[in-house]
Symmetry: D2
Subunit: 163 residues, 4 copies
């Protein structure tokens, strides 16, 4: 399994139908391209992405906040049980070479922030946009479709770490 | 020391001169009003706020990321040594009943996000502004001056937890 | 408050009556000697120690595992709310210059281990003893009474960090 | 990959030659039996176990303390990058249905403690033994050989979680 790319998919536990569809498509596309999916392991965007990846035979890792691997969605193959609450979000993004954010609320924003702080590229689909001191911050790379998001994520992941 | 209010001051390690001045003034004002200052314990905005609070005899808590209490700025009276890296940011905001954000980069944004996720009010001075799906998110309460920031923080802290 | 010594008191949430008495006496003695008490903030040994310290006007810090400062025992003056589960145990011991362990179960043993791993001296009252490969490990310094435990803790704390 | 058993192998970063041999044999045996190996991802016992597992085509997960996946030993296929320091030890044991401890120092003892605290069975090879209040604690299940350790771990893992 060496030299595989790890891509995190982050987003809310209660996505819109459109966001869930995007997430599933992102998961599918990542699996087709041989990338390993990392996520927070629970429902919503995380589950949809894992479902998509699984449908294409991809590998899915769920880094869980609680104490029980049974909390993982049914498409998580490798549950990492942290017992660390929201601190697990840091591990989700740090374990990836690129992050795709879909929709999401403040938890997703925290993950986006942790990724940017760690120099890990973030691709956004219908998600947060940022401004600092009234100046737009363009660190989140916009994508218009799941395929574009995955393309950008894999390109950036490749430039992140030597293959 | 019961019934004291705990207010977190968050912001970057390398603030502009203006931001450092704002932070020091916020620290001073919090101490005058009897609030306990919580921060990440290091330099920049954290140090300036602790310096201000100390100058008025206030109590300062620094929740440190590393393994050494000596890393705390000289105005931290109560160093909490976590060894948990950025996960300490979660403890900084959760230990407060209100958060004042001054300037800051992605680490500050992560702290803002964790606070909002936990329902802890955030007052912003020259800091991030947020939009989700192209709609402005007004969760960060704007303040124009340190005094206004402290007033709002203490009002909101009071409504947060029963005195 | 500078140059104060920080001493952690660790032990189980459901101590025997004897252990609770020891913990309260340790807390009282620490406060009399001007040390700041650090603990996990909950019930049992933690509460008894905080009660003892409070009765002598000492300062008490409770580093909590959950998301709510209301979970702190009533004698905690400075609640640190981590949301990090058992990882907060690491912060409890790392924030101290010496640790006093009273009774306790596996959580206490984990804290003892983290302290020893970090080079922080551990004084034991009716607590765990260790052997490795069938050779006794004498790292836990035994004490026969609360006063002896506090004496040893403060002596060792003094040698730990330059005053 | 569903229904796989996850077994953690824990132990020191600087094992004796004998301990390293035991770890490699444990890793090999786990892989032969189809279990997934979880560890802290670094050198010593962790690396030896991963090497053994890899030599039999097993899957290896390394949950790292730092910020860089490059710190993983070369036999880790799935690096989880936490940035959480020793708190990652909690995730190592919680992600497993049984733990095999080989030799080790205080870090290993902390992991043993976290496992026992969480009700996860621990099998010991040349490792710590425990006594509480001068009474031996028999929670660590002794094994005399790598094969016996793996047999016990897999039996206990099976009884832990419904297949």
């Amino acid at each position: 399994m060496d030299k595989k790319k790890f891509v995190a998919v982050i987003g809310g536990g209660q996505p819109s139908r459109e966001e869930a569809k995007l997430a599933e498509e992102v998961g599918r596309e990542l699996a087709k391209r041989g990338a390993i999916l990392v996520c927070g392991g629970l429902g919503g965007v995380m589950e949809a992405a894992c479902k998509g990846a699984s449908s294409e035979g991809g590998i899915t890792i769920g880094i869980l906040p609680g104490d029980d691997s049974q909390a993982a969605n049914p498409y998580v193959q490798i549950p990492i049980v942290t017992g660390l609450g929201y601190a697990r979000n840091i591990a989700v993004v740090k374990s990836a070479q690129a992050v795709i954010a879909i929709g999401g609320s403040y938890g997703t924003l925290a993950e986006i922030s942790h990724a940017l702080q760690s120099g890990i590229p973030v691709i956004g689909l219908n998600t947060w946009s940022l401004a600092r001191n009234n100046q737009q911050d363009k660190s989140i790379i916009l994508a218009q479709s799941p395929t574009e998001a995955v393309n950008k994520a894999l390109d950036l992941a490749a430039s992140q770490k030597p293959d």
